[in-house]
C-alpha cells in the first residue's frame, strides 16, 4: 500500500468536495461539500504520517486530524449561523441569492 493510493483517494474526495461546493444551490449541500474537502485534507495528513517511514511514536498525523475535526465543527457552526442570516433576508437558502458583490 504505497502512499499514492491514499493520496489518490484524498484528491478524489477533494475534487468531489469542490465540485459539490461549486455546483450546488442549496447552502446545506455546500456545507457538505466543505466537510468533504476538510476530510480529504485530514486523510492526506494521516497518509503522509503513516508513510513517512520514520518513528511513529509521535501521533502527529492523528492529532492533526482531531484538530481538523474540531475546526470543521466550528466552521460548520459558523456557516450555519451565516445560513440563518441569509434566510433572514431571502425567502430561501439558495446561495445564488446574495449578489451584492456583483456590479
Amino acid at each position: 500500500m504505497s502512499i499514492s493510493h491514499y493520496v489518490f483517494i484524498s484528491t478524489a474526495l477533494f475534487v468531489l468536495g469542490v465540485f459539490t461546493m461549486v455546483a450546488r444551490r442549496n447552502a446545506i449541500y455546500v456545507l457538505m461539500g466543505a466537510e468533504l474537502i476538510v476530510n480529504a485534507a485530514a486523510l492526506n495528513f494521516v497518509a503522509f504520517w503513516r508513510h513517512k517511514g520514520a518513528e511513529m511514536t509521535q501521533m502527529s498525523g492523528q492529532m492533526f486530524t482531531i484538530f481538523i475535526i474540531i475546526l470543521a465543527a466550528a466552521e460548520a457552526a459558523v456557516a450555519l449561523g451565516i445560513i440563518l442570516q441569509i434566510y433572514h433576508h431571502f425567502p430561501n437558502i439558495d446561495v445564488t441569492g446574495p449578489k451584492s458583490l456583483s456590479q
Binding site: V22, V95, L101
Partner: protein, 689 residues
Amino acid sequence: MEFFNTMQPVGYALAILLLPLLAFCFNAFTYRTGFTRRHGHRVPVLAIFVALLLSLSLFDKVILDHGQEGFTWSSVEKGFYWNVVDLGTNALQIKAGVLIDNLTVVMLVVVTLVSFLVHVYSIGYMHGDARFPRFFAFLALFSFSMLGLVLTDNLLVLFCFWELVGFCSYLLIGFWFEQDEPPKASVKAFMVNRFGDVGFLIGILIVYQMFGTLDVGELKTAVGFHNATGLADGQLLTLAGLLLFCGPMAKSAQFPMHVWLPDAMAGPTPVSALIHAATMVAAGVYMVGRMYYFFTPPVLMFIAAIGTMTAIIAASIGLVHNNIKKVLAYSTCSQLGYMMLALGVGGFGAGLFHLYTHAFFKACLFLGAGSVIHAVHTEDLRRMGGLQHKLPITYRTFMVATLALAGVPFFSGAFSKEMIIEHAILWGMHGSFAHWLPAIIACFGAVLTLFYMMRLIHLTFWGEPRDHHAYEHAHESPATMTVPLLVLAFLSFVSVGWPIPFVGGHKLPELLAAPAPARYVTELFGEHAEHHASSWLVGLVFLISLVILAVGWTLFTAVYRKRQPAPEWWVAKFHWGYDLLSGLYYIDEMYQATIVRGGNFVCSLFRVIDVHGVDFMVNFVGTLGQFLAKLQGVFDRVVVDGLVDLWWHLSQGMSKRLRRIQTGNVQDYLAFAVGGMVLVFLTFWFLNP
C-alpha cells in the same frame, strides 16, 4: 581755451560733424513737444553756429600753422579710424577715417557758414509754416551729411554721404508735399542722381578691384606708383575715372543730367540757396577735386568738354525764363559748368576757388530772390518790376551779388572767373584748335551771364511795376532775412582773392592749390608745367573780362533799356530759337520718350513675369500647402486619433468582459480559486519536472 588748444584736429572734425546730427535727432524726437513746436529753430541754429565757430578755429589752426606748404592730417595714419567692413581677414577691410587738409577746412568753412546763414534766414522765411520744426530738422540732417562728405577720406563712406545728401535733398525739395510740383520734382531729383550714382558705384568697384583700397590717401600713392612704373592699365584707369565722374555729373547738374535742377526750385527758397547753389551741387566739384590725381588726361578732357557744354547750354536757357528762381537755377548750372571746365583744363585752384566764391554770391542771390518772393508772393518775373524802391536792402545785396557773378572787377567772382579763363587759355595754347573751345565758350558764356542777370534785375527791380496789386503790398523782409543777405553780399564783395591778413597774407587760391597733385597737370601741359599764370596773361584776361562786360552791357542796354530793338522783336525774329530755349532744348521730352518709356516697358515685362511666374509659383505653393494640410488632417484623424481610440476601445471592451467574472456568486469565486490553484500546480509541475 586750454581745451581747444590741446584738442586734436579729429576732435574738431567729429564735433563739427556730429553737432548737426544731434540737432536733427533733437528736433526729430521732440517733434511734438511745445518747445520744439514754438522754437523748433533754436537748437539747429545753435548747433550749426557752434559748428561754424569750430570750423573757423580749425581753419585758423590749419592754415595759420601750415600755410601754403600743404597740410594733411589723416586720422587713419594717426590711429583714429573706424572699421566699416571687417571680415576678419585681410581680404576685405575698409577703414574710414577723417581727412583734414587745406581743401577740407575751406569746404568746412563754406558749408557751415552758408548753412548757418540759411538757417537764420529760414527763421523768417518759414515763419508760420505748419511743419516749421521739421524743416530745421531736415536742414540739420543735410548739414551733417554734407560735412560728413567733406570730412571723410574713404570713397565708400563718401558715397554713403553722397546718397544721404541726395536723400536730404529729396526731403527738402518735396517739403510742401501737398502741392503738385514738389513731390514730382523731388522724385525726379532723386532718380536722376541715382542714375549717376550707378556709374559712381561701378567706378568705386573698379577702383577697389584695381588697387584693393578705397582710402583717398592710399589711392593717391598707389596711382602715382602705378603710373610711375608704367604699368599701363591706363584704359581701365580711364574707364574708372569716367565712371566715377558720372556721380558728379548727376549731382552737380552737368549737361545730360542737369534736368533735375530747375524742377528742384519747387522747394522752399532757403533749400534752393543751401542745397542747390552752395553746397550739394558743389559736392560733385569737391569730389572731382578730391580725386583729382585719379583722372587721366582723357577723362579730364571729358570733364572739360562736359563742363563747357553745360556752361553754355544752361546760360542760353537762362535767357528766356520768366521764373526768377529758374533763371537762378540755370545760372547755377552754368557756373557749375564753369567749375568743371576749370578742373578739366588743369585749373585745380581756380575751379575750387570759383566754388567758394560762387557759394556766397549764389546763396545771396537765392536768398534775395526768396525775399522778393516773400514780398510779392509770386515767382513770375512778368508780374514784378520797380521793386528797388520797396525792397532797398534786398535790391542792393542782390545787385552786389549780381556784379560778383558777372565778374565785375574787384568783386570776388571776377577773381575766380578770370582765373578760370586764364587756365582755359593756357590749355588752349598747348593743343589743337579744339583746345581753344573752352576758353572761347567761357568768354561767350560770361557775356550771356551778364545779359541774363541784368535782364533779371531789370524785370524785377527796375522799370515800372507790372502788377500794381502785388507792388502795393510789397514790403521789406524782416531782419532775420536781411542780415544774412548783408553778410553774403559783404562776402561776395570782399572776396578772398585779396590776401587774407590773418592767415599770413596767403591768397586763398594758392592755399587751395597747395596739396594739388600736379601729376596729370604736368602731363597735360607737357614741358610747360607752369600752372601759375604769368603776369602778361593776367593782364590779358583782365582786358578780356572788361571787353566781355562792355559787350554784355551794350547788348543789354540796347535790348532792354533803349528797346532798339525791343525784346519782343528779337523773340519774333528768332522764334525758333526762343522756342528751343523755352522748351529747354526739349531734353526732358527726349528723356521721357526714351528712358522713361523704356523703363516703363521693362517694368511691364517684369510685371508679366511677376504675375504669371512669381504669383503662379506662390499660389501653387499655397495650394500645395493646403493639400498637404488636408492630408495631414486625415492622417491626424484616422491614425493618431485611431490609436488613441484603440486604447479606450480595448480598455472598455476588456473591462466589459472582465466585469462578468464578478457574478456576485460565491460559488463562482470558489471555482475560479480552485481552478487557479490547479493552474499554478500544473505550471510548477511542468517547470520542474
